[in-house]
């Protein structure tokens, strides 16, 4: 199963939430241009002393992060009695005990004895929505990514749960044998070349200062750059007018690599996220982040 993706590549803002988000950003940007530019332009100076206009835009957007609206919606969804069993997600265990959210996200992915699996944030939410609330797994997966006509509950819930650990450091432990297996599998998969383009993750994310066309690529073999990545997912993506999760990020990389649609909550995604998050331990969580 994978999310229904028809016409979802670049959804235009249409829900009230999104329009509000964009309006707030625009107003704030207009009103605060003088002040913000003095601050932002200073921070956005490239090494050669020139102003990086993209960095200025990113900073303005981050100051009025539209992702906050997904956090609010996620919080409501989390506490609401929903699904066939009409229960909330308040008893969902993210690894620190039922309902304990603060500090849970930085430890993910981790091994969960009740499922016998290593799970990331999204796959754990999926488990709770199925086991506690009685939803059909296929339905949740089908709606896991927002489209033009559909706001994903998963993206909102993931934003909310992750944001409860803002300010804390990524701290994946690998105490359990299965966690270490996932980590090593993730490391293997990061370097595994396949497909019609012969790409592995490391092909594009293994060196400094690289770009695909004008899009800068983080070097995911450098701890500081890995930390910059893992601190800000889930992320509000300006090009898609919605929050996306790491599941979606990996799905999209997979698409660019010309591989088939990556299954939602697949072990492929969880292995790579285990490798990534562990390598980024120490990153200060600031979720949802703001991305292109």
């Amino acid at each position: 199963m994978r999310p229904d993706f028809k016409s979802s590549r670049h959804p235009r803002p249409r829900s009230l939430l999104r329009i509000r988000a964009l309006r707030a950003v625009a107003q704030r940007a207009r009103a605060a241009t003088t002040v913000a530019c003095a601050v932002a332009c200073g921070a956005a100076l490239a090494q050669d002393g020139k102003v990086d206009p993209l960095a200025v835009g990113r900073q303005l957007l981050a100051e009025d992060n539209p992702g906050e609206l997904w956090v609010q919606r996620g919080e409501k969804l989390f506490h609401a009695k929903r699904g066939p069993r009409q229960v909330s997600l308040e008893q969902c265990d993210f690894g620190l005990g039922p309902g304990k959210l603060t500090g849970a996200f930085p430890r993910l992915p981790r091994y969960f004895p009740d499922t016998g699996k290593v799970q990331d944030l999204e796959s754990r939410l999926l488990t709770c929505m199925v086991e506690l609330q009685g939803y059909a797994r296929a339905d949740i997966v089908k709606g896991a990514f927002s489209t033009l006509d559909h706001d994903s509950d998963m993206e909102a819930l993931a934003s909310f749960v992750a944001s409860r650990s803002n300010g804390m450091s990524m701290n994946v432990q690998l105490d359990h044998e299965k966690e270490r297996e996932m980590y090593k599998a993730g490391e293997y998969l990061f370097h595994r070349r396949s497909g019609p383009t012969d790409f592995a993750c490391v092909t594009c994310h293994g060196d400094e200062g690289k770009r695909i066309r004008l899009q800068e690529l983080p070097n995911m073999t450098d701890r500081k750059q890995i930390q910059a990545v893992v601190s800000g997912w889930p992320a509000y993506r300006g090009t898609q007018s919605t929050v996306r999760t790491m599941q979606h990020r990996l799905y999209d990389c997979n698409w660019q690599m010309r591989l088939p649609d990556l299954d939602f909550a697949s072990d492929m995604s969880i292995a790579l996220t285990t490798y990534l998050n562990y390598s980024g331990n120490g990153a200060v969580i600031q979720a949802p982040g703001v991305r292109r």
């Binding site: 690998l174 297996e181 293997y188 019609p196 594009c204 695909i212 066309r213 010309r258 088939p260």
Partner: protein
């Protein structure tokens, strides 16, 4: 109290027990086999590695032995096919359009995107026309490629083969084996060759 001193050491030992490379490989391959349920076999086959891809997936630089590099070069040389016409240089204007096109063979909802023809993906990673700023830098700049090298038969053949299967020259380089993998036809590659070496091409205009 002696056990207190040993406890941290035991924990450290326990944590250090990562699976070895062979176990990680077995686990990784099993994960790949389950990553695309419900996808048609013609697509899942893409995720299956051929022998050169397997050799080129080693973790860390310098892990590939001389013998393995030689094997990649041998297999890659053997993969190269030429246009039926025998002409390795096509039309540079057709090649220009191909060089700046990044489309083709991507999969959404289990279906391959519908395009007139696959793009050659060049500008994703290489600068070509020095006036075009929208170019990647994963590969070296190719601006002035033809004016630097000329357009002798040797240059033409090298350029064609290098695009058809880059690993015949630099085993395991980042560049996709565009011809060998079936992403481009021999005729398309000949057009791209023309774009790179023709003196009239923007790549070579001063």
């Amino acid at each position: 109290m002696a056990w207190l001193t040993f406890a941290p050491a035991l924990v450290v030992l326990g944590c250090a027990a990562f699976p070895d490379e062979q176990s990680a490989r077995v686990a990784g391959e099993s994960i790949v086999a389950q990553a695309y349920p419900g996808m048609p076999e013609v697509l899942t086959r893409r995720a299956v590695q051929d022998p050169p891809q397997r050799i080129c997936s080693k973790i860390g630089p310098g892990k590939i032995t001389q013998e393995e590099a030689a094997e990649v070069i041998r297999l890659s040389r053997a993969s190269i096919k030429y246009p039926a016409s025998g002409k390795l240089v096509g039309d540079w204007k057709t090649g220009a359009a191909l060089a700046y096109s990044g489309v083709g063979t991507r999969v959404r909802d289990g279906k391959v995107e519908k395009v007139k023809e696959n793009g050659a993906l060049c500008s994703n990673c290489h600068m070509l026309d020095p006036r075009e700023v929208n170019a990647g830098n994963l590969g070296p700049s190719l601006a002035g490629y033809g004016s630097q090298r000329g357009s002798t038969d040797a240059v033409t053949q090298y350029t064609y083969e290098r695009i058809y299967n880059a690993w015949a020259f630099v085993p395991c380089s980042n560049m996709p084996r565009l011809g060998a993998n079936g992403h481009l036809t021999p005729e398309q590659i000949a057009h791209v060759v023309a774009y790179l070496i023709d003196p009239q091409s923007p790549v070579n205009r001063k």
